[in-house]
């Protein structure tokens, strides 16, 4: 009986230590709540569009998960709208975009059209992007949210926001 009690006490102490460490020693981090399937109201102004873009960028879109310096697996986006214009002129560019805005759209819905050198999926020699089409289920952005992201990227890059709040015939034709 004595042995049993000693062994039981030892086991409980060990379990207690691990619990103590996980609960009180490591910083308490609460994972984000599941995103609400909120109805996205069509933004009426450019400012609202950029605001929507920012909230999607940091929330539903999960962009900041990979596109940060810490993660190191995706190009940084602070000047994306400016660099976009240069990317389409690069000799390796084989995509269909003819202007910066189109490149940003293509990068969101068909990331493998052009992979920035060094950021390809492992073993694909930069031919395949590890990023998926953002309209796919695990992120599931709709067209409004995609346009909002582009507007946000243009805004933080310091260029003029060329996306109109509501899709016009012109923008539909471009895409």
């Amino acid at each position: 009986m004595n042995n049993f009690l000693k062994v039981a006490a030892f086991s409980l102490a060990v379990i207690g230590l691990y619990t103590f460490y996980s609960v009180w020693v490591i910083p308490p981090i609460n994972p984000e709540a599941p995103p609400k399937e909120a109805v996205v109201e069509e933004p009426a102004t450019v400012d609202e569009l950029v605001e929507l873009g920012e909230s999607v960028y940091n929330g539903k879109g999960a962009c900041s998960l990979c596109h940060t310096a810490a993660a190191g697996r995706a190009p940084l986006l602070e000047r994306a709208a400016v660099i976009a214009g240069q990317r389409i002129k690069e000799p390796g560019y084989k995509g269909n975009a003819t202007h910066a805005e189109g490149y940003l759209y293509e990068s969101l819905v068909n990331p493998s059209a052009y992979v920035v050198p060094g950021f390809g999926a492992s073993g694909s020699a930069d031919k395949v992007s590890p990023m998926l089409d953002v309209r796919g289920s695990s992120i599931g952005l709709n067209e409004t949210e995609i346009r909002a992201i582009i507007a946000y990227l243009q805004s933080i890059s310091g260029v003029e926001v060329t996306i109109a709040p509501a899709p016009t015939e012109e923008t539909k034709a471009k895409e």
Binding site: V14, Y18, P31, P34, L65, C66, A70, G72, G136
Partner: protein
Amino acid sequence: MALSNKRLSIIKVVFSLSFFAFLLAVYFFASGQPVVSAPVLGALDYPATHGVNRRLAVWMAAQMHLWFAAFVLAVPILVLILEFIGVIKKDKRYDRVACEFLRVSITAFSLTAITGALLLLSLIVFYPQLMKYLASIFGPTALFYALFFLFESATLYAYYYGWGRMSEGSLKWVHLLIGLGLNTAGTGLMFVANAWVTFMMTPAGVDVSGVFNGNLWEAVNNHLWSPMNLHRFIANIAYGGSIVGAYAAYRYLSAANEKERAHYDWMGYTSSLIAIGALLPLPFAGYWLTAEIYSYSQQMGITLMGGVFAWLFIVQAVLIGALFLAANYYLWCGFGRGSYGERYLGYVKYIAFVIAICFLVWFTPHTLILTPTEARALGGQYHPYLGPLGLMPAKNTAVNIMLLFTFLSFLLYRRSHRTPTVAWAAYGKAAQAGLFTAAVINITFLGVYYGYFTNTLYKVASSVPQVATTLFVIVACLVIEAFMLRGAERTEFRWGRMPGRSQYALLLIAVSFTWLMGLMGFVRSAIRQHWHVYGVMRDASAEAFTPSIAYAAKVVSIGTIIFMSIIVFIFWLSSAGREASDE
């Protein structure tokens, strides 16, 4: 009071047959389901639970089942190996201990089935829509599961009850074959169940709305199926070994005489050798599992390792560090079994120092949670000097060196009662020392150069040659050892000459393994976040939120206590039963 053996076997047979019938019923029900797209659920689509936390109920049932299943898959592997060694070496001791392992664990099989039934029931009751959807795809697999289950029950009973009758000559080989059948059935069961759970994480064979394309093999053979199969197979062996080791440790502590002490000392050592041996290739399997997660979804991969669960892997590091320290401590105590052991005691402090440093490196986080004031004082998000130790290359370097030095402890332990007498012994030892030195240099170079002077791809890729180096050293040293110790001078070696505290090391290993399994099971499930089937079927229940590590730790701890209590009860039952039949 104790049930007679015959009555017990009848009960077990009846139980197995009913469970088999139940599984057949599931199969026929599931196969009749039409192919549908994954339902889009709302909170009201989940049946009312009257205060029961449905997610917690399923989590507990699942974790209990996984612990028991790991144990009952490991025991037949250990038993078959030991029985086989006994036949080859013509040493009855192995045969006796193999039979004892099996006898002690037999009740665990029933508990595995019971917890499995509980899990299935709770899933059907609490998550009917999910089960209907999964059944529409995996219906036919339930038939395989039922057949494997029946086959396992039959082989288990034949293997156990036939031990005495099939103990000599060609019948012994038939017995071994039955044991192999038992293992095959158990592994098959696990492979089938792995398909269901990995589909929920990395679905294949369905389109974005969840409509199944009819290719069952594609759904089964999804990204994570093979890595999960390998990882669980190896981990089960390590786990089973550690539980048996804990059993032996306890029996050692309460042994009545020297003979018993010697027997349980040997049992503890043998099972721990298997457990720690199986632990060595586990990082490979884990690496493959994580690589496949990343290749399926970058997002899921980064959530796992770089996002909110990064700190969980620091907790894992603490547990693995504890495991290694305990294993090494047990080996060092073992030096005392052989009369030459004392000459190696001087090395212990150096090995302990290295392992402690590696443990600390493993322990060190990268991302710190700081308030803005703290961040300003520190000059950034990371500690300027210790921050780099938090990155994967440092971790990989540390764990490989820990593995190497643990192996060194093992080599020294084996020399505690053997002295090489071959003419080239000095050169052999020099070669081994050179091998170790070159390996440490190589591993450190790989970790530092590719870890800090290149990009992410190299950082991860360099871990492969690091592990290859470690494995090469282990194999090469064992080969040199085998040749060098031919005709070695052997001195006194006594089982049972271990201090009591060494047995607590074995207990620590078993408890840590159990807790670690719970923690890792949590993180695997949690990276699915608010999805029942990732990207295909959303979880809309009230418990869809991802729990924090603190919450998970509490759940895992309660589960561990419950599980270990039941295991203790099972072991007690087996010894009580034996005493009853002795009387």
